[in-house]
């Protein structure tokens, strides 16, 4: 709960912040728009008084309404973890600039976010599926992912071979998204 660090952040990034800087236990969280990701992260990484050299985690989050990409950064200038959340990505075509130009190690984390949520990272040289088989259509960790649709479409179909019926030749497109009450 580093108060000075919060003041410094508010002073430095007043324009890009889309919400108040929240602090809890030993984490400081700031929300920015996806467009400013490159400018904010390079500023945090390069400026000597901030000096966030370590990207400790890059995670995709689906809040049911909107998609987010969350970066966790560490630097010796502050005892807190800094969490930068790129908020407000649309659900069907979520695009975020990639941070591989700063950390080449973030390539696979972005691949995993794409594989699980369908967030495309522009600038990532190698954005393909990392866990799921390459011909997998749906994104498993999204909130509207319904296993039965997916099971119904894939040949194995979650049903033991002994009782397997003919797999549907063309899966109805509507089956992809189950209509949960809005």
């Amino acid at each position: 709960m580093d108060r000075h660090f919060k003041a410094r952040l508010e002073a430095r990034f007043a324009a890009q912040l889309t919400g108040p800087i929240r602090q809890r236990h030993d984490e400081t969280e700031m929300r920015i728009a996806p467009g400013d990701v490159v400018s904010v992260i390079t500023a945090l990484h390069d400026e000597p008084d901030l000096n966030f050299q370590f990207l400790s985690d890059l995670a995709g989050v689906d809040t049911g309404v909107v998609m987010q990409v969350v970066y966790h950064l560490w630097s010796e200038t502050t005892p807190d973890w800094l969490r930068v959340t790129a908020d407000g990505l649309s659900r069907d075509d979520s695009r975020v600039p990639s941070v591989t130009f700063l950390w080449k190690g973030a390539e696979w984390m972005e691949r995993e976010a794409y594989d699980m949520f369908g967030i495309t990272f522009e600038g990532n040289r190698d954005l393909r599926r990392i866990y799921m088989p390459p011909d997998y259509q749906s994104f498993p960790l999204r909130k509207d992912f319904y296993l039965a649709d997916d099971a119904a479409r894939s040949p194995g179909g979650g049903v033991r071979p002994m009782e397997r019926t003919e797999s549907p030749t063309n899966a109805p497109a509507t089956a992809l998204v189950r209509r949960t009450p809005a």
């Binding site: 809890r24 400790s56 989050v61 190690g105 696979w108 071979p161």
Partner: protein, 406 residues
């Protein structure tokens, strides 16, 4: 002579397979979709692809690496993951907060106490729980024991991947002693399921303390003598020195953490950089080396075992009294919020990002595994070396596929 289109599968006559039975080419059937895929899957002259396939003797678990070979020299490699993917993050979203600990246990199965520590820390932050000091000390004690067991096993794997048959069994002997001790404390030998939100499952008992006592007396010299076989062995050292060197800047760019980063000279250790639990009160130092090659990583892990023994000593000496677990309601419903907790595992920083939405099931549970990051840097260190070196470099990074594939 490819067999015809549809044919009966061998293991279940009622199932018909439609794919042609033939040589499984490492090149994917669909056209390349990304720049890296196009660049990798185009063959130069005299090059060939080889599948260091999912079942290969020395890819520590189920990992497929497509090597592009020019004779014996490796030109490029592309790891293919997902063979051990159990969807732990999805499972945790459908399980309540207690069950999430069980799902994260088998992730890095060689050091599963650390897998439990990160989510437990994150949930405690979510629920603002104050953990009693005795529980913190027991957590540090048992996890440092687990770290020594994991490093001892690493020293064995390293020698096995280079062809030595004996060190792997000696290191298993050491690991078994430690694992028996932890079984006396926690009740399980490998996937302990010992940490609870707000403390630990059970207090220290006499059986554990007596075993720990006589193990501590002979621990250092036993591990030392076992490794003396390899440290000065010319063949072993010549095969390891100057292999897979990585300098500090690239290591930072590759987001590496743990022993692999400290081998390049950066003293970054979460226990000192972002102290959690009772580490500020314990005094131990962070061993670092500068060469950053396989041999440095190997020797660094041996120094870390010594440091862990020092920490265990201090934990035993100033172990406070008091309760072992905080008072918590039977059904945990943390108020909506987000928490991030990182722990220094034997392979690097292992962290969990938990989001709660007020129900008794976590809304999102993101798990970050160090081996997942280190596997990327194999592609950087590998080109130019021979096939035999892929084994040495991958063994020196010590990846655990359970954690990589989550």
């Amino acid at each position: 002579m490819p067999i015809s289109e549809a044919h009966q599968s061998t293991d279940d006559p009622r199932v018909t397979l439609d794919r042609e039975l033939g040589v499984f080419e490492p090149v994917p059937p669909y056209p390349p979709r990304t720049e890296r895929e196009a660049e990798f899957y185009t063959l130069g002259d005299g090059e060939m692809f080889i599948n260091m396939g999912p079942q290969h003797p020395s890819t520590h678990g189920v990992l497929r690496v497509v090597l592009k070979l020019d004779g014996e020299k490796v030109v490029d490699l592309d790891p293919v993951l997902g063979y051990l993917h159990r969807g732990v993050e999805k499972l945790c979203e459908n399980a309540d907060y207690h069950q999430a600990i069980c799902y994260t246990d088998p992730l890095e199965y060689v050091s599963s106490l650390f897998n439990e520590w990160a989510p437990v820390l994150a949930f405690e932050k979510l629920m603002d729980v104050e953990v009693p000091r005795r529980a913190e000390y027991i957590r540090v004690l048992s996890s440092e024991l687990n770290r020594v067991a994991s490093h001892a096993l690493f020293l064995g794997w390293m020698a096995l991947d280079l062809g030595g048959l004996t060190p792997i069994l000696w290191s298993f002997i050491e690991r078994d002693e430690i694992v028996d001790m932890l079984a006396a404390l926690t009740g399980q030998r490998m996937l302990f399921n010992y940490f609870r939100i707000g403390g630990v499952n059970g207090d220290l008992n006499h059986e554990f303390m007596s075993r720990l006592g006589d193990w501590m007396s002979k621990a250092t010299e036993q591990i030392e003598s076992g490794n003396a076989l390899l440290n000065e062995n010319e063949i072993f050292v010549r095969r390891m020195r100057g292999l897979g060197t990585i300098d500090t800047a690239t290591a930072l760019r590759m987001v590496m953490t743990g022993p692999n980063l400290r081998a390049t000279g950066v003293p970054f250790d979460i226990r000192r950089a972002h102290p959690y639990s009772v580490f500020p009160e314990l005094e131990f130092d962070i061993p670092t080396r500068t060469e950053g090659d396989c041999l440095a990583r190997y020797l660094l892990r041996m120094d870390e075992i010594k440091q862990s023994l020092r920490i265990i000593d201090q934990c035993l000496h100033n172990m406070p009294d008091g309760p072992v677990i905080a008072k918590l309601p039977r059904l945990l419903r943390p108020r909506p919020g987000r928490a991030y907790a990182a722990v220094e595992g034997p392979r690097g920083q292992y962290s969990t990002y938990a989001i709660s939405d007020g129900t008794d099931q976590p809304f999102r549970m993101r798990i970050h595994d160090p081996s997942f990051i280190h596997l990327q840097s194999v592609g950087l260190m590998m080109p130019g070396h021979l096939i035999a070196d892929t084994m040495a470099i991958m063994a020196s990074l010590d990846p655990i596929m359970g954690g990589v594939d989550k």
